[in-house]
């Protein structure tokens, strides 16, 4: 959001932050322009809103176009992409576009006029392109009609471009800003015709993001940066053992510490210190004697969880996610069989901005300011914790300092409201320490996978049996999402059809899931189950290709005759990377391809492994077919970033459990990739049209298997346990 366009007096509110001891003060402008309730309470002058042409479009008299964005921005660029979609149909001047978030409370009050606020599953654009473009088109028609009425001319004789409406016969012109107020009073057209893709002027253009500048000068406010008048700060400690409870705490030890206002229990499992500053609160909670009731998971450890999963690999009972032909028969009759077992660890989202939320509770109203991927879920959580009707609550979304799925959960919102309830009327900002964030995540689930493949005499894949054993996210997070008890999300990348369909035609195939749910809370973690399923499938196919004595590219291609779009991205990376031609000395290549989140992606990685086992990832060529490419530059950055996320997971991502708690506490024992490990990434964006695929997640899935297959090419070693930090690539 460009700060220059914010009209402070009318649509913003000013917050004064006092520098203690100096009398120095400074104003912070909060980009919450729709927050008129709060503006009124903080003394901002009450002035009429600029005309809302419709729910999606507000146009100010100076022709500033405010486009409403329902989905959350967390770095993925969806805010700019969604604005492009609206602006394309609106025919407005892109240089005058700014954005704002409506609140989930407003959405509820207006019968969900903005659709879903949920921002996950790479759904931001593909899940709303239709109705947001329609929103832009409806507003355009209303604006033209307003001008035509003013001029008393037929609408058909008017044209519009760049926010300027022209009456063609007379050459008269006006601007959106001048007719917006009149347009707002008109009845919206019942239906509008959207442009054909070949008419798009703004969609498909690599326009700059709308939210960059403030991220380069410290002005961008995140949830952690919020400062409301009279606000206090809270630090929290929850029972480190999963499902453990708070037994007691001795606040006499900290009550007299500087700045401490109150020590409060948070439900039955956590305790928080409220103080003037967060540093004081954090210092006090570190000193607070707390006794926990660790409960039934006090002795849980990683070895026990692994045993659970191993048992699930052997047992006869399992859900079936895909079943073609007769895999059992095919394996019996195979000329050669290959078997391998892979395992994938727990991982933390580790957003750079730790979990936080600010809440203010009174007997008749509860307000929350927070970074969230799911405004509506955050609102429901706030209302429930507040003990108030949902209509008396609202959530104001802040820009997210990373989401990756973690902020689809609302546990930190619930906590903030429970704390605020104990100090009515006082806004309280709850901020987790990194240690709290690492040990109270919603972890990427653990699974193991045993694969058995059968090759016929010609070395073709005749049958494949896949047994996944491990954790279901839906069983923990969203039980009604299961279908006949089956968690279909577990089968991402193995399914017969749909957004996460298998990329190959295997004549005899059986894919099973033995659900084993250890008491470690799982969550949706950017990419979700395709991350490990793509390793299982793509690395095992590589194993089969080598067992068959075939080139991994050709082995795959033979199974992809019915998957032309998957084949196209695979061929594109192979060609650009120079597959089949010699690489530099010591450099080896590996491939991976998946369909996931309705997009087709592939990667070819080039790596070397030195005599000591040190891995260097030199270059990755990646291709994406998302159907339509709304902003190719943003797709490029998402693909580049996906390799950081996917390769950080492969190299370092592991949470282990000891005594019922996660052992890793910060970036020293849960490292993330740095710039010196980053390969060159070459991105091929190849939208083939006719469908809308996701962008933020798909490429993560090909990062690890492409590199692992290249490591095999370099070393002859198959790594089947992760992360790689635990493995010597030469002696493995």
């Amino acid at each position: 959001m460009t700060k220059e366009r914010i009209n402070v007096s009318r649509r913003d509110f000013l917050i004064r932050s006092t520098a203690l001891g100096t009398g120095f003060s400074l104003g912070l402008y909060l980009p919450l322009k729709t927050n008129s309730v709060f503006a009124a309470q903080t003394g901002s002058p009450a002035v009429p809103e600029a005309p809302e042409v419709n729910a999606w479009v507000v146009i100010e008299p100076d022709d500033t176009v405010v486009i409403r964005i329902a989905r959350s921005e967390m770095g993925q660029g969806t805010l700019t992409g969604l604005a492009q979609l609206v602006a394309e149909e609106l025919e407005c001047d892109w240089s005058k576009v700014t954005t704002e978030y409506p609140t989930p409370g407003q959405n509820l009050a207006r019968d969900k006029v903005w659709g879903s606020f949920a921002t996950g599953g790479s759904r931001g654009i593909r899940g709303s392109h239709d109705y947001v473009r329609k929103g832009g088109a409806v507003a355009r028609e209303m604006l033209i009609e307003a001008a035509a009425r003013q001029w008393k001319v037929p609408v058909e004789k008017c044209r519009v471009a760049n926010s300027i409406i022209t009456h063609v016969p007379s050459g008269r012109t006006t601007t959106y800003g001048k007719v917006a107020a009149a347009a707002a009073k008109l009845t919206p057209p019942f239906d509008v015709i959207l442009k054909d893709p070949d008419e798009w002027k703004l969609i498909g253009k690599p326009v700059k993001r709308l939210d960059t500048v403030d991220k380069t000068n410290g002005k961008q406010l995140y949830g952690t940066d919020l400062n409301l008048p009279g606000m206090l700060n809270a630090a929290i400690r929850a029972c480190p053992v999963f499902t453990g409870k708070l037994k007691s705490f001795d606040d006499s030890k900290v009550r007299k510490m500087p700045g401490v206002r109150k020590v409060v229990a948070v439900e039955d499992y956590a305790v928080a210190v409220v103080a003037d500053t967060w540093w004081q609160a954090k210092t006090a909670i570190d000193a607070l004697p707390i006794t926990w009731d660790k409960g039934p998971n006090a002795n849980l450890n990683s070895a026990a969880i692994e045993q659970m999963l191993d048992e699930g690999l052997q047992t006869g009972e399992a859900f079936v996610g895909n079943h073609q032909g007769d895999a059992g028969q095919a394996l019996k009759g195979a000329a050669k069989t290959v078997e391998a077992t892979y395992a994938y660890p727990y991982q933390n989202h580790a957003t750079m901005e730790p979990m936080n939320a600010t809440a203010r509770w009174t007997r008749d109203r509860c307000e929350v300011w927070c970074p969230t991927q799911n405004g509506e879920a955050a609102l429901r959580a706030a209302a429930e914790a507040a003990g108030l009707p949902i209509t008396q609550c609202d959530v104001y979304k802040m820009l997210l300092g990373g989401g990756f799925g973690r902020r689809g959960m609302s546990d930190y919102v619930t906590q903030a409201v429970h704390i605020a309830r104990q100090m009515p009327g006082v806004p309280i900002k709850l901020l987790w320490t990194r240690e709290e964030d690492m040990t109270h995540g919603r972890y990427h689930p653990v699974t193991k996978c045993k694969l058995v493949g059968g090759l016929d005499k010609q070395g073709n894949l005749a049958g494949l049996h896949v047994r996944i054993s491990g954790q279901s996210i839906l069983a923990s997070m969203r039980p009604p999402g299961k279908q006949n008890e089956i968690d279909m999300v577990t089968f991402q990348g193995f399914l017969p059809d749909g957004d996460h369909a298998i990329s190959y035609t295997v004549p005899n195939l059986r894919v099973e899931h033995a659900m084993r749910n250890p008491p470690v809370p799982p969550g949706f973690w950017r990419g979700v189950n395709i991350n490990q399923n793509a390793i299982y499938m793509e690395c095992f196919l590589d194993e089969l290709a080598h067992a068959a004595g075939k080139d991994p590219l050709e082995f795959r291609r033979k199974l992809m005759a019915d998957q032309p779009k998957s084949l196209a991205v695979l061929d594109a990376v192979a060609k650009k990377a120079g597959w089949g031609k010699p690489a530099a000395k010591g450099v080896h290549r590996g491939l991976a391809v998946v369909k996931t989140f309705a997009s087709y992606v592939a990667a070819c990685a080039e790596v070397s492994v030195d005599d000591k086992g040190k891995l260097r990832i030199h270059r990755i060529v990646a291709a994406t077919d998302p159907g339509y490419a709304v902003n190719p530059q943003q797709i490029e950055t998402q693909v580049e970033g996906s390799f950081v996320f996917g390769l950080s997971a492969l190299l370092y991502g592991e949470c282990t459990i000891r005594d019922g708690a996660v052992e890793q506490t910060n970036f020293h024992d849960y490292p993330s990739m740095l710039i010196n490990e980053m390969p060159k990434v070459e991105v091929i964006v190849m939208p083939s049209g006719g469908f809308w695929g996701g962008i933020g997640e798909p490429t993560i899935a090909v990062a690890a298997p492409a590199v692992l297959n290249a490591i095999f090419a370099a070393t002859g070693k198959r790594i089947r346990q992760f992360p790689l930090k635990n493995v010597n690539l030469r002696s493995a």
Binding site: T216, G641, V644, I675, K680
Partner: protein, 158 residues
Amino acid sequence: MPKLKINGKRFDVDVDGSTPLLWVLREQLGLTGTKYSCGIGLCGACTVHINGKAVRSCIMPVSSLNASQEIVTIEGLSSDNNHPLQQAWKELDVPQCGYCQPGMIMSAAALLKNNPNPSDADIDATVTNICRCGTFNRVRRGIHLAARINRNPNKRGS
């Protein structure tokens, strides 16, 4: 009562001397551009300059500082967003979520100050900030572009 010089202005801050500089900046002075992320001096989100050197402010007790030291935060990097790195960051749309970027820019700014034409190896050795969104390749391009802008402020071409 610690005295500090931050972005060219002097401040007396009334705070316990063990308080890290990060929290003095954020909570006493309202300079929230400098971010908290790890609190153990690892991730670099809290990077500021002290006498031109990049330091992790989250582990720097304010008692160890005095008003003779020039502390610069992201807010004081330039007067009008015109630092070559800020220009380059805008040109290349470097940030994603942006939370690590003030620290990333401050690390890069200290590097450029000492080494106006850094190689890729220099960048690898100096910029040790964590970015979970994965902006590294654009950060690298941004630093090289900023070095070019520095050499020839009127010609920005990449």
